[in-house]
């Protein structure tokens, strides 16, 4: 699945949580699609790999 599609799922989930009054979850979910900015054609698997490499390379993790 491409990140553009994942973004749609996360945005729908944000909307559902907001409508249900779970603002905290909605706010948290709203942050995530920002990771997809400029990478819409990338797949979720590729992004996951990039982030995993970053996490292992970072001394703070």
């Amino acid at each position: 699945m491409k990140l553009s599609d994942m973004r749609k799922i996360l945005e729908a989930a944000t909307h559902l949580h907001r409508e249900a009054g779970n603002e905290m979850a909605a706010d948290a979910l709203k942050e995530i699609p920002a990771l997809c900015d400029g990478r819409e054609s990338m797949t979720v698997a590729v992004l996951a790999k990039l982030v995993a490499n970053q996490a292992t390379a970072s001394p703070s993790m």
Partner: protein
């Protein structure tokens, strides 16, 4: 039941990534119930991707990830050398072998002898000699 879990209310103002992963898990259940297998699999991958950041607030984790992704990938500083091989080149040795091969000219025996010496000196030269036409070997 899924909806009860998805829409449970919260009292704090910000969420940790660990808590967000629980929310993502609930969305996964929703997708599973709808038969969206690809979405389930990718939500799982997304959640796993966030696992190392579980103790961090979501906004900080996202900022860290974004910052990390915006940096160019680091190139290895030095190429690893193969065990037992040397990267140093001796120009005199190369010249010596070149001269012997050139002097052999069309003499097949002299050429074979020069090539044999070259192979004996450096086993990796076999790759080069294997590419030569049959009448040059």
């Amino acid at each position: 039941m899924i909806f009860e879990k998805v829409f449970q209310t919260a009292s704090r103002s910000s969420m940790t990534v660990g808590e967000l992963r629980t929310v993502l898990g609930n969305i996964q259940h929703l997708c599973l119930a709808a038969g969206a297998k690809t979405a389930v699999k990718d939500l799982e991958a997304f959640s796993e991707m966030l696992k190392p950041y579980s103790d961090m607030p979501v906004d900080k984790a996202c900022a860290d990830i974004k910052r990390g992704l915006s940096q160019p990938a680091k190139k290895p500083t030095k190429r690893a050398t193969r065990a037992g091989s040397s990267t140093s080149v001796d120009p005199n040795l190369i010249q010596q072998h070149l001269t012997e091969l050139r002097e052999a000219g069309t003499n097949q025996d002299a050429f074979d002898l020069a090539l044999k010496k070259l192979r004996h000196q450096n086993p990796s030269s076999r790759r080069v000699s294997q590419k030569l036409p049959v009448n040059f070997r």
